[in-house]
């Protein structure tokens, strides 16, 4: 790995009154990676990134962003950290292009607003007001505002919430291109497919603590079992799939069929389906599944809480 990490969070604690939102969270993020923060609602994800971006002051612990403190060096950090907030709207009559050019004027070395609008596919809405745009277009604009300052670090909170699948995939592509340009990305999400697809490494946070910190594959492997995702050439019914040895769970999402189970799942599946005249494409096989791991790791936590209540 390269020299110093881009972001280091050590023993971060943040309380709101008596509620402990973040309880001793530590991790570090390498330069140029997409680092995911996943977890159930209310787990402390947003609070963690708000502390990193300097919007909130931690109660204890330390944070370093490219060697600077988000609170003490707030002015310096704002220059190279782009932030997309979970719920931040623009004045309704502000136009798309105006917003991006306005934000560009705040930075000393911004990207070209027109090129950015173009690459986000919203150039044609340059002169349309914010309120007239769809959820997906607003989200792209929000991303544009986070990127226009040409940041070294982009913090994206709930990137694709409320978007249709097509828009989500387009935005995923955009984030990958950002990483390819060398931008370090912190991605807060509760979509497991998003985390699996995009993130180089993940922190799974639950009840304010880090439950798992690793690559998506490694975290998924903790849940055990293997998983095959594929696109069948024609619809396959439930019974046919259930009859295949080793298959435990079947899930359908968009055009994909995802089968979870044990053994050499992909080989068995492809052969069995070929026997009934179904070809498969876009096969993706994995040991374990992030969603399984997510549920397993966070459910363990719930049962532990219940035990605490009982005693």
């Amino acid at each position: 790995m390269s020299a110093a990490p881009a972001v280091t969070v050590e023993h971060l604690v943040k309380k709101y009154g008596r509620l402990v939102a973040v309880d001793d969270v530590s991790f570090s993020i390498h330069e140029g990676e997409i680092f995911g923060i996943i977890g159930p609602n209310g787990a402390g994800k947003t609070t963690t990134v708000e502390c990193i971006s300097g919007l909130r002051t931690p109660d204890s612990g330390s944070i370093s962003v490219y060697g600077l403190s988000p609170r003490k060096d707030r002015n310096k950090i704002r220059e190279f950290v782009g932030v997309q907030l979970q719920e931040a709207a623009l004045p309704p009559r502000l136009k798309v292009g105006e917003a991006v050019r306005l934000f560009a004027s705040f930075y000393s070395n911004p990207l070209d607003p027109d090129e950015l609008l173009e690459s986000l596919g919203i150039k044609q809405f340059d002169h349309s007001s914010f309120k007239s745009r769809s959820g997906g277009q607003k989200q792209r604009l929000s991303i544009a505002l986070a990127l226009v300052g040409n940041p070294k670090l982009a913090i994206l909170d709930e990137l694709t919430t409320g978007l249709d699948p097509e828009a989500r995939r387009e935005i995923w592509g955009l984030i990958e291109r950002m990483r390819d340009r060398g931008v370090t990305v912190i991605l807060v999400t509760h979509f497991m497919d998003e985390a699996e697809r995009l993130c180089d490494r993940l922190a799974l946070i639950d009840h304010g603590t880090v439950v798992a910190l690793d690559t998506p594959e490694a975290i998924a492997a903790k849940a055990g079992g293997s998983r095959v995702r594929f696109v069948p050439s024609q619809p396959v019914d439930e019974q046919t799939l259930r009859a295949i040895p080793g298959v435990k769970e079947i899930e359908r999402k968009e055009k994909y069929v995802t089968v979870t189970g044990t053994g050499d799942l992909s080989g068995t599946l492809i052969n069995a389906l070929a026997a009934v005249g179904v070809r498969v494409s876009d096969v993706e096989a994995r040991t374990g599944n992030l969603e399984d791991a997510f549920i397993k790791l966070t459910r363990d936590d719930v049962s532990r809480d219940e035990k605490e209540v009982q005693t």
Binding site: L85, L90, R93, R101, F103, F106, S108
Partner: protein
């Protein structure tokens, strides 16, 4: 001018956020609360009283003043107070929707956004003063025998006091939904205090005293006195200065960015 600075790598931020001022001005034109309330309404009232004055020429009572003479100072104060109480319309909204917070993550401090909005409203206030005095004098022949210095001082204090009050509303009112009725009630009270419906000179105590020492009443009296009666009283100017300090303190003490 800033557009040319947005090139790829050679650009440098200007010290003053002109782009912000430009964008905020455009928004002020697209959401013309202050423009319509602060300029259009007083202009309409000016025309109304102007025509009443033309239809009833001559003195009102034994004052030696015409209808338009008497109403011009009050219209000035009303115009300035409407511009001021329109501040929450945009700023409370901008805070409620998370825009101020969003801006605070950039190198620009959101106080600049506030400053830009205040500059725009100051320009509007100046325009209102010019239109009402100029329009009153040129179109309807209002005769203001004002001494520039006391008159200017009265207007400056009126603007300071009213803008500080507007910022108190921005600081204390939590949401847009609350802002509408609250500013409505305050505007009504201020208009009453300024003598729009009842002239304080014609009512008895204690109402007269209350009106004279209310924020808008003190302003109206100072402007009237500096227009017709030689100059504002020290008590009136002091009243406005005290209000400005109190409102300013409350606004700064309770202001929230998010």
């Amino acid at each position: 001018m800033t557009d040319s600075q947005l090139g790829k790598s050679t650009s440098h931020r200007s010290a003053f956020p002109f782009e912000l001022l430009k964008v905020q001005s455009k928004l002020a034109l697209r959401e013309p609360y202050a423009l319509l309330g602060g300029l259009a309404l007083p202009v309409a009232l000016l025309a109304l009283f102007g025509f009443i004055g033309k239809a009833n020429p001559g003195n009102v009572g034994d004052s030696g003043l015409t209808v338009i003479d008497l109403w011009t100072p009050t219209l000035l104060v009303i115009s300035l107070l409407i511009i001021s109480v329109s501040l929450p319309n945009t700023l409370v909204r901008d805070r409620e929707i998370g825009w101020l917070r969003r801006v605070s993550t950039t190198p620009l401090h959101p106080s600049r956004l506030l400053a830009a909005q205040l500059i725009i409203d100051l320009v509007l206030a100046a325009a209102a003063v010019v239109i009402i005095i100029g329009g009153g004098a040129l179109v309807f022949g209002a005769s203001l025998h004002m001494q520039i210095l006391p008159f200017g001082l009265s207007l400056v204090l009126t603007i300071a006091e009213m803008f500080a009050l507007g910022m108190v509303l921005v600081a204390l009112v939590p949401t847009q939904a609350v802002a509408q009725p609250v500013t409505g009630v305050i505007t009504f009270a201020l208009m009453f205090g300024s003598g729009l419906w009842v002239n304080p000179a014609q009512v008895g105590d204690p109402l007269r005293t209350i009106m004279y020492y209310s924020p808008s009443g003190a302003a109206a009296k100072a402007v009237v006195d500096s227009a017709f009666n030689g100059g504002p009283s020290y008590a009136g100017l002091l009243t406005m200065a005290v209000y400005t300090v109190i409102f300013g303190f409350i606004a700064i003490r309770y202001f929230r960015w998010e």
